[in-house]
Symmetry: C2
Subunit: 219 residues, 2 copies
DNA sequence: ATTTAACCTTACAGTTTTGTAACAAAAAAG
DNA sequence: CTTTTTTGTTACAAAACTGTAAGGTTAAAT
């Protein structure tokens, strides 16, 4: 979706994008533009900073209150203050007119790729040789795959995302159970033990190390 | 981590970043620089395109084969071809020298924020009033929380990430099982039914609609 | 209006997951 | 060196998850 009052630029952009396989939407006017954007919910928004009656940065700021739609800011002035503001208001990228069509296409591609990683929730976390698929709850190494149980997943997720740091038993307890009061403290130990066994199955021994009195660390 | 042969720039950058709370690493030399980067595994890499004995873009290209470390390319020439290449090789951003310190800091902040979204696996997907925590496999609405089973999670994830689109039964089968041949077709129906019952528990009735002969759609 | 194909529900049994207890091992403290 | 604390292992029972069959319901097709 392109939101730009300069019709010449808009239609040129539209053609460029359509020629490259994108579906393009241009709003008829800029009344209630925020509602229109939210309703249409485009995959990407190309937003001009200088709109009549609307402040592009303010629009972005308001959009970001409820939406994560990827936004590339477009502006005619090569103005670093604008750039700074756009980024801090949550623009995903920024491009100045006149733009190089190839660069614009690449930037659009890059932004869409990044956002689709977030959207599709394509959550494969890589740890050493392991590919941890947080959707399926599986860990793959080459052609061997092991399935983690829910508890094992929670522990491994927590350790992987806090790598190189000692993670306390309390942290893990809190990550595992809402109310840790009535859970046997040893239960965590058992679950750690089970996770270690599974990691061993894919050839990772001693990566989940104990730091006695402190917690655990994933090496 | 800063990889730049211009010592003046490097130390200036280092100071700027350290003054803003970042921990900075400068490699001693550029021998086996790829291995060094992979070993250190920094949160962010500031990479100069023009290194002695090393081609920055080639380095980026090789890095991307095994790593998702966020990279901001830095260059002295304001060269659009370089920019295009960097982006298509997987740079997360691009900045030209001489840089505006504030802009650089903002860009660094933006890149780190984006990547930490991926890293921390901050996977709470919002659907209407529901907050779907893909880590815990739970759905919350206000103060009520329901726990999804693995199958229910897979189905709900798939539907949520393909909202407003009809999802075929085959798609769901493929998402659920590696080999769908030996799975009773009715089993999917049962799992859909179970998911519907759980959604009902948080007040969402009829959101998972059947499109007979076509599939399902999450309204 | 009747038939047919697609989808839904319930109940049940096999399997997996999970928490606990009992005992063992290892590191820290005395 | 001995005691204490912390962590690890195994076995077991309760609970949860999952696939299938049997029979019911719905909507499209004839």
């Amino acid at each position: 979706m392109i939101v730009d009052d300069d019709e010449a630029i808009s239609s040129e952009l539209k053609e460029l994008l359509q020629n490259n396989g994108y579906e393009v939407i241009l709003p008829q006017d800029f009344n209630n533009i925020l509602e229109k954007i939210l309703k249409i919910s485009p995959d990407l928004l190309l937003l001009d900073i200088n709109l009549p009656f609307v402040n592009g940065e303010l629009l972005l700021q308001n959009l970001r209150k409820t939406s994560n739609i990827p936004v590339i800011m477009v502006t005619s002035k090569n103005n670093e203050t604008d750039e700074a503001l756009s980024i801090s208001y949550g623009a995903d990228d920024y491009i100045t007119k006149p733009y190089n069509p190839n660069i614009l296409l690449l930037r659009i591609g890059a932004v869409l790729k990044r956002s689709s990683i977030n959207y599709n929730n394509n959550t494969t976390i890589t740890y050493k040789e392991l590919k941890f698929d947080t959707q399926k709850g599986s860990i793959k190494r080459d052609n061997t795959e092991i399935i983690l149980t829910k508890n094992e997943m929670i522990i491994f997720s927590y350790l992987v995302t806090h790598q190189k740091r000692i993670v306390t038993r309390d942290e893990l307890m809190t990550a595992l159970w809402d109310n840790t009061e009535y859970v046997n403290d040893n239960t965590l130990t058992v679950n750690i033990s089970r996770l270690r066994n599974k990691l061993k199955e894919v050839g990772y021994i001693d990566v989940l190390a104990t730091r006695k009195g402190q917690g655990y660390i994933l090496l």
